[in-house]
Symmetry: none
Subunit: 83 residues, 4 copies
């Protein structure tokens, strides 16, 4: 018995889960760095990254959902006399 404590098996399993999760997290962090680089590149090419972000969001967001939001927004704006 070389494992510390009497929960050796569970501990090993736990450790494995934690390591797998941290590995995936590291990969996500890498991708986020990639994104930053791409945005920096776009900026260097003279694009407005703020707008690019909005376009990405626009394309990502479900169409129906967007329509719904706009409808509520208009309702509120009209209630405020801002339509």
């Amino acid at each position: 018995m070389s494992e510390p404590g009497h929960n050796g098996i569970a501990a090993d399993q736990l450790r494995a889960f934690v390591e797998r999760l941290e590995r995936v997290n590291a990969e996500i962090a890498e991708r986020n760095s990639d994104k930053s680089e791409i945005y920096a590149e776009a900026k260097g090419a003279g694009f407005d990254t703020k707008i690019i972000r909005k376009i990405i969001a626009l394309r990502t967001k479900d169409h129906a959902e967007r329509k719904e939001e706009e409808a509520v927004m208009e309702l509120y704006l009209s209630a405020l006399g801002m339509s």
Copy 2:
């Protein structure tokens, strides 16, 4: 100039940036699915995922803190003209 691609900006370049970003976003989404699977697996193995999340968060924070400490140290040293 009414032909496609002459809207005053480099359309092809813009499209390329958008596509690269969406590709990276897709990869991140995949990893997030991976994480969900791992958590589900851990749960199936009888672990409390809430606690696993805490452990991950703590370890992440510890790492960040190390970096932070070093940064503060450097800042102070530089303020003392000892950098």
Copy 3:
């Protein structure tokens, strides 16, 4: 119903919420100006504001961490059925 104030939602109530929020935002903006002034003053007195910011951040984090530690402790105790 085409008269003003009958767009289907409680316009007056909505307006009131918006105004209260904007008032609070204005107050926050004032405080931020105050902070800027204090930092300028400190700088004028010969202090390194970057370091002062670090000190503030560290103290803030310390306080937050105490809370956090307590929360983690509770979580663990509850997981052990000792809450």
Copy 4:
């Protein structure tokens, strides 16, 4: 000389700055709590707080700036054939 060390005066001054800043920070934190309460209240009254946040942002942002953004957005969208 009753102050600790030989930088007593500077230390007192520094402490004063830090305390003033922390006081202002505390006030800002209070206001943020106020905001949370107001949003909760609005939610309780049946409003969609997500939209209210957007409206606040809309009103906060300078009109000219907003027009400018929309113009750039349209330009980009048209370049992508999404207009």
